[in-house]
């Protein structure tokens, strides 16, 4: 294609200039670029030097892990007592029922392993059929969880939910809360924007009621008041009560997160799909929700993370979640005095789950970011 104009000469494309001259220049520019920057850098390394080496000494280099009672730890007070965690691991992870029935311990191990097998491929880019995996995780997995952990089918003995505890309980509460609250929250968010005044009013009332009530109060209410609504004699499982309370509470937060996404959708999207003859549910499911959920992923996951941590409040109604279990174990006669190790362990496990959710949401966000122009 020859350009006929005489005064237009195309300048050939060039590579962009390379403006990083090795790591030394990077450090000078980024860490010591200005006075403030230099002060921050120096302070940071000073505090790092002050606190990190002693912690590493205590937590790793001098730590105790051998043996099966406190004598090892008592002999070496300069190091952390991971022996405690090792000995009580079953109890911390799976609760008292499974810790005291070693022949049943395959049950929680199985459901956690299955969870890992479903979740890991979800994070790997090249996995095919991710949608189906996710569907299995959200629908079939909970059923398997109940069948295996609770038992009562296929000859698996029933486990007493009152003795569920540790990570297993934390996980069960959070998982149920998340899986049930998501669809409920989406419906509530849609209801809040409905053109039908009654639907709208009901949704608003629901959301504002649960959002304005602290989870602790809800857990108390669920444990004390829920039985009042049912004829006496109907024994309501404590764990189920907590699950109901958590779900009601969580759905209000999820709804608000989803609403944020719905509000961000241009009304032209709805009009264009209306003009194509699509009804309310088709517009919602095919056009509005896919875009709105994508936008609200970060805030939805935020509510999930908050919930995961908030489940530790169930200790208030006498359930032994991961945190409470760690505390109890470190106050037992055998291990009295090693609460720091207990709390660190609980904190670390909480962190793994929350960090996992956070990373997954960031990944999802990037992957779904399709309406940005390609580079």
């Amino acid at each position: 294609m020859s350009e006929n104009s005489t005064n237009f000469i195309k300048i050939p494309d060039r590579e962009p200039p390379i403006n990083s001259i090795g790591w030394l220049a990077w450090i000078r520019h980024n860490l010591f670029g200005s006075t403030t920057n230099t002060i921050i850098t120096v302070l940071f390394f000073y505090f790092f030097y002050l606190y990190i080496p002693p912690f590493v000494d205590w937590a790793i280099l001098n730590a105790n892990i051998s043996g099966s009672d406190r004598s090892v730890c008592d002999a070496n007070k300069a190091g952390a007592c991971w022996t405690f965690i090792k000995v009580r691991l079953d109890q911390l992870l799976f609760g008292l029922y499974f810790a005291t029935n070693p022949e049943e311990i395959w049950r929680p191990i199985f459901v956690f392993a299955l969870f890992g097998m479903l979740v890991v491929p979800l994070v790997i880019d090249s996995t095919p059929h991710k949608k189906w995996l996710l569907m299995i995780l959200l629908t079939i997995y909970p059923v398997i969880f109940i069948a295996v952990v609770y038992g009562g089918v296929f000859g698996i003995p029933v486990s007493d939910t009152g003795q569920w505890g540790g990570l297993l309980l934390t996980f069960a509460l959070a998982f149920v809360g998340i899986v049930l609250a998501l669809p409920l929250g989406i419906l509530l968010a849609l209801g809040r924007r409905s053109e039908m005044p009654i639907v709208r009013a009901l949704s608003i009332t629901y959301i504002e009621f649960w959002r304005g009530t602290p989870l602790i109060t809800i857990l108390f209410m669920a444990s004390v008041m829920l039985p009042l609504f049912f004829p006496s004699g109907v024994e309501f499982d404590k764990v189920v009560r907590a699950m109901i309370g958590i779900t009601l509470f969580q759905s209000a937060y999820t709804a608000e997160a989803v609403r944020g996404g719905l509000q961000a959708i241009d009304k032209g999207q709805n009009e264009a799909s209306m003009a194509l003859g699509m009804g309310y549910w088709r517009r919602t499911m095919l056009i509005v929700l896919p875009q709105a959920l994508k936008i609200s992923i970060p805030s939805i996951v935020n509510t999930f993370i908050a919930l995961f941590k908030d489940t530790s409040l169930v200790s208030i109604i006498g359930l032994l979640d991961l945190l409470k279990m760690s505390q109890n174990a470190s106050r037992s006669l055998d291990w009295n005095g090693y609460d720091i190790e207990g709390y660190l362990f609980a904190g670390f496990v909480f962190w793994i789950f929350c960090f996992g959710m956070s990373s997954y949401s960031q990944k999802l966000e990037q992957k779904l970011d399709t309406d940005r122009r390609s580079e």
Partner: protein
């Protein structure tokens, strides 16, 4: 007309108007946007609607597929009167294509998916068949090579042509355009207008709100001038541009043709 549904082909008698608007009145709250609009559109007719900003042009064509609800008068599209009946509304909407000023493509779907979504879910076509129609129409608007990109990766002019293809995939009987080129750069206006001219030549019934007077001159059977919610004047393009009847039209034309 009786309520017994006439067989579909009876509507195909050539001189029956496809849109009949009778004494249409609409208010936004207390604001009277449309006043006593009478308009009938015959099959294959091309109508251009112009008028100053706020005169109710968008409102009028949005009433035709009930994106806006009117309070008085009647609108009959393809033999069906527009009422609150949801099923009728969706049927009419699927027969009336609409192209918006800001394209309103679905950003989370590819260009081809934008085109096939409604045929699959509303017309219940198979994916294969819908893909075929989609590619055919993308070819017609000359962007088959962009089929698997996302709307955000296309230029404005390309996006608007996708929007036209998307509407055409439903095989509509009428196409409504609401200022389809006014969000575009001059270079892109041309490619969209060309697409619309080809569509007009293929015999589509079209109602176009636009200030592109060249386009009006070339394809319109009738030009309608609106002001303050009323139809001030309508005429064939020759007479409309060369000897407008009302002073209001003259003033408008002098303003619009100045630059």
């Amino acid at each position: 007309m009786t309520s017994t549904t006439a067989p579909k082909n009876s509507i195909d008698t050539d001189n029956a108007p496809i849109i009949t608007i009778d004494k249409l009145n609409k208010w936004y709250g207390k604001f009277h946007v449309l006043k006593d609009i009478d308009l009938s559109v015959n099959k294959t007719e091309k109508i251009v609607i112009c008028g100053p900003s706020g005169s109710g042009k968008s409102t009028l064509i949005r009433c035709i597929n009930r994106l806006e609800v009117h309070q008085e008068g009647s609108i009959i599209v393809d033999g069906t009167e527009l009422t609150d009946d949801v099923k009728h509304i969706n049927e009419i909407r699927s027969d009336v294509g609409m192209v918006f000023q800001h394209f309103n493509l679905f950003p989370h779907l590819t260009v081809l998916e934008n085109c096939t979504l409604a045929p699959i879910w509303v017309r219940k076509k198979s994916k294969i068949e819908a893909d075929e129609i989609g590619m055919e129409l993308l070819t017609k608007v000359r962007i088959p090579d962009q089929a698997h990109k996302y709307p955000g990766q296309l230029s404005g002019g390309q996006q608007q042509r996708v929007a036209i293809a998307r509407a055409l995939c439903m095989q509509p009987r009428v196409m409504l355009f609401d200022e389809p080129t006014s969000a575009l750069d001059p270079e892109m206006i041309k490619e969209v207008l060309e697409t619309m001219i080809e569509l007009a030549e293929s015999g589509m019934t079209m109602l176009v709100v636009t200030h592109e007077m060249g386009f009006a001159n070339k394809v319109a059977d009738r030009v309608i001038f609106m002001d303050e919610g009323q139809i001030v004047e309508q005429n064939d393009p020759g007479n409309f541009f060369n000897n407008p009847k009302s002073d209001r039209t003259k003033l408008f034309l002098s303003q619009i043709l100045e630059h």
